[in-house]
C-alpha cells in the first residue's frame, strides 16, 4: 500500500534582496507571511529602545506594492476600498482597508497618491497576492491598470526620533534636505540618494517619527548600507520583526491576522472612521458595513494593562472578575489578540476583543494566564504616545 500524504510540500521561504545584509549582521530569522525575515539581530529589547530613543532601520521589502494607474484610478479605488481617495491630494497617503462583500477585512493598506491618475497601494506581505488579485478583479469596466510590483520593489524603514537627521544626511542636496524637514506625517516626496530615485514617505508602524523608503529591490542593498553608515552617528541600529511587533503594540496599532481578519469588520476593530459612506461611489462591502454600523459592534478592541508582572498573550481568554458580593461565576467576555510585556512602559500590555459592555476605561477584568487568573485593567489606547 502506498502511503498518501495530503500535506503539500512547504514552499521555500522567500528572501528579500537584503537577505545577505541580514546574514552579515548576524540576524536570526523567522517565517513571516511566507518570507524568511530577520526576527532580531541581537537583543530585541535593545532594538526596541533604539527606535524609541534614537533610530532603527527595518527591511520591509516583504510588503506588497501594487500600482493603480489610469483616468479612473481614484474612482476605481473608491469602489474597491472603503476610503474616499477622490479627496486625497497628490503627495499624501491614506490608511485604508479592503473588505469583502460581507464587510470582512481582507487587508489593511497604505495608499499613496502619486499623481492625479496614479496611486501606490501597499498591502501586507502575506496578503499582497490576494490584494493584487482582488484589485485586478474589481478593476473590470474601469479605465485603470493594476500592476503588482511587489517582487521588484524594495522597502526600507528608518524609524525613531533621529530618523529625520539620518534621512537628511543621505539625500542629494539642500533643496531635498528642506523637503525632508518639511514633509508632513502621511505624506511622501521624491528624493535621490547617491543617484538612486527614492519614494520617501513619512509613515511607519512604531509610534515614532519615521520614514519609509521605496526603491527598486535590486538597489536596496546600497541604500541599506548608505543609511547604516549615515546612521552610525545617530544611534541607528538594525531592527527585526520582534521589535517591530512590540513597537506597534505599544502604539496601539493593529496587526493583520491578530486584530484584523476576514471575520472582523472595521467597526469591530475601532476602524469605522476609515470607512467613507459619503463618497459617491458604491463600494464592495458597503451595504454589509452600513448594516454593521447600524447594529453597533457587540465586541470592541480595547487596551489592557496588566496589574501583575505576567503578560497575557494572543489567544488567552478574558473573564469578568470573580465577585465577592455575589456567587456569580466569572463569565468569559473576550480574548487577547496581541500581548506582551511592554519594553517602554515596564508592565504587561495587550489588545483584546471584549464584549462591548466591559470595554469602558477603568474596568477591571481577569485574564487566564495558563490556568491562573490575573487582573488587567481596560486602558485608553495607544499605550504609548511619543512626547507624552
Amino acid at each position: 500500500m502506498t502511503e498518501h500524504t495530503t500535506e503539500q510540500a512547504a514552499a521555500a521561504p522567500k528572501h528579500t534582496a537584503l537577505h545577505a545584509e541580514h546574514e552579515k549582521l548576524g540576524a536570526s530569522f523567522t517565517d513571516f507571511g511566507g518570507w524568511d525575515m530577520p526576527l532580531k539581530y541581537g537583543s530585541e529589547l535593545a532594538e526596541h529602545r533604539a527606535v524609541r530613543e534614537a533610530a532603527g532601520i527595518f527591511d520591509l521589502s516583504h510588503m506588497g506594492e501594487v500600482w493603480v494607474s489610469g483616468a479612473d484610478a481614484a474612482k476605481f479605488l473608491n469602489t474597491a476600498l472603503v476610503g474616499n481617495f477622490a479627496v486625497t491630494a497628490v503627495g499624501k497617503a491614506k490608511y485604508s482597508l479592503i473588505v469583502n462583500a460581507d464587510g470582512g477585512i481582507v487587508d489593511d493598506l497604505i495608499v499613496y497618491r502619486i499623481a492625479d491618475e496614479r496611486f501606490l497601494v501597499v498591502p501586507n506581505a502575506g496578503n499582497a497576492p490576494t490584494v493584487a488579485r482582488l484589485l485586478a478583479e474589481r478593476a473590470a469596466g474601469f479605465d485603470v491598470e493594476v500592476r503588482d510590483a511587489s517582487a521588484e520593489t524594495g522597502l526600507i524603514a528608518v524609524q525613531g526620533p533621529n530618523s529625520e537627521a539620518i534621512v537628511r544626511a543621505v539625500v542629494a542636496d539642500d533643496a531635498q534636505r528642506a523637503a525632508v524637514a518639511d514633509l508632513a506625517y502621511y505624506a511622501w516626496t521624491a528624493v535621490t540618494v547617491d543617484g538612486l530615485d527614492v519614494l520617501l514617505a513619512r509613515t511607519g508602524y512604531t509610534g515614532e517619527d519615521g520614514f519609509e523608503l521605496y526603491i527598486p529591490a535590486e538597489r536596496s542593498p546600497e541604500l541599506w548600507q548608505t543609511l547604516i553608515a549615515a546612521g552610525s552617528a545617530h544611534g541607528l541600529v538594525p531592527c527585526g520583526l520582534a521589535a517591530r511587533d512590540s513597537l506597534r503594540l505599544e502604539a496601539g496599532m493593529p496587526l493583520y491576522g491578530n486584530e484584523l481578519g476576514v471575520d472582523t469588520t472595521p467597526f469591530d476593530a475601532n476602524l469605522g472612521g476609515v470607512v467613507s459612506f459619503k463618497k459617491e461611489e458604491d463600494f464592495v462591502g458597503r451595504s454589509a458595513l452600513q448594516a454593521a454600523k447600524a447594529a453597533g459592534a457587540s465586541s470592541v478592541l480595547v487596551g489592557l494593562k496588566g496589574l501583575g508582572r505576567r503578560a497575557g498573550r494572543g489567544g488567552y481568554p478574558v473573564f469578568t472578575p470573580a465577585s465577592e458580593l455575589t456567587d456569580e461565576a466569572p463569565r468569559e467576555i473576550g480574548v487577547i489578540t496581541s500581548g506582551q510585556p511592554s519594553p517602554t512602559l515596564g508592565y504587561p500590555i495587550a489588545l483584546a476583543r471584549l464584549d462591548a459592555r466591559y470595554a469602558e476605561v477603568g474596568t477591571t477584568v481577569e485574564v487566564d494566564l495558563r490556568g491562573k487568573r490575573e487582573s488587567f485593567e481596560v486602558v485608553a489606547l495607544p499605550f504609548y504616545k511619543r512626547g507624552a
Binding site: S43, L45, A242, R310, A311, Q340, P341, R370
Partner: protein, 126 residues
Amino acid sequence: MSQVHAAFRYSEEHEWIDEASPATIGVSQVAADALGDVVYIELPEVGKQLTAGEVCGEIESTKSVSDLYSPVTGEVVEINDAVVADPALVNSDPYGAAWLFRVAVTEEGPLLSADEYAAANDATVA
C-alpha cells in the same frame, strides 16, 4: 550558534544541572537564545518539593513564555534572588550569574551529557 557548558548535564527541556550537592540548576543558552530577552522569572519557593519532569516555574520573554521543568526530584534549598530581580542575566550569563535554584537531590530525571545535548540542539560544547 548557542554554547553548551561542558561541565554540566542537561534535560531535554533545556535545564542544566551541575555535579555539586546540593545541585545548582539553570537554563541553557539554547533556551535563552530561543526565548529572546527574558523579562520575568517565576521560581519555586525554598522548601518546595520538586518532582523530576514536572513544571516548577516560568520564564517569560518579550516574545514568549516557557514553563520551567525540574530536571530532578528533591527539595529547593536556595533560589537566586538576583536573577529574579534582573532576568536579563539569563541572556547574558546563562551558565553563571543566571543560575536559578539549588536542590537537595533525591532522584535524577533523565539527563543528557553536554555532548549529547549539544548534538540534539545544533549547539557547540565550550
